[in-house]
Symmetry: C2
Subunit: 161 residues, 2 copies
Amino acid sequence: MIELRPGPLHDAVAHLAFLLGTWRGRGRGEYPTIEAFEYDEEIVFDHVGDDYLVYTQRSWSPADGSPIHLERGFLRPGGDGRVELTVAHVLGVTEVGEGPVGPASFSVASSSIGRAATGSDVTSIERRYRVEGDALSYQLDMTTGSTPLSRHLTAELRRQP
Amino acid sequence: MIELRPGPLHDAVAHLAFLLGTWRGRGRGEYPTIEAFEYDEEIVFDHVGDDYLVYTQRSWSPADGSPIHLERGFLRPGGDGRVELTVAHVLGVTEVGEGPVGPASFSVASSSIGRAATGSDVTSIERRYRVEGDALSYQLDMTTGSTPLSRHLTAELRRQP
């Protein structure tokens, strides 16, 4: 059996190349219903030569390395200067986010949240990502069934050599 | 910064251990609207010591190794002998699947499909997975906006040493 043979970066995602790489750093979590906490995180934007980027996220406790959260998904061009983010969360939740992309940033608001029977009570998510030099910063706001839109995550990660 | 430090398999997913590993093989794709095709595939069920499995899928052309499809997500226990599968697809689609788990099998039907503005017109997905010895076989049926529930994928993969 031959292997998956990724080609060069697809033209359709050339304008998203600013995201490519492995990013690591420290983030801050908060929400009206919980105590604020810190987390260490790695985000990877990768590609396989097709018309989307592969998004891999994991975060863990700075104290003992135990996992805090994992997300996996894809970022792809939408119509007219927009991007579409599809994400599976560990918490029994899926997310479709859509929004504008700039020269070194994008933001998405959820157009769809899927929730399994025992899934987390998330009802909407808004994300903003920005790259400046070797820094990727993002903010994530979230609504649940009982809490209006509130800041949940803020992080600044560094591009890994 | 310390690293993510995965622990031993979490008790909550001990009954899903039959899925753990890297599985590779050949599959067959079909659908009433397309010509049948073959694909090579790798599926990985992994864990990080928490109460879910990490699901990673990629398939590619047997002819030239070019990517055909990628899926990423998580499998976790639901209530009462059930599992919950959250999946992000490259095609602008997310999927939440729920269904029963047996000693060496599980099946899920989508309870939620999310679709981005330019996403694929999938409206429901049903999956069945079964492990026998070193073989993982699965079937996937799919409904779209214009086609009733029809077989889309059939594959048998071998556990990699």
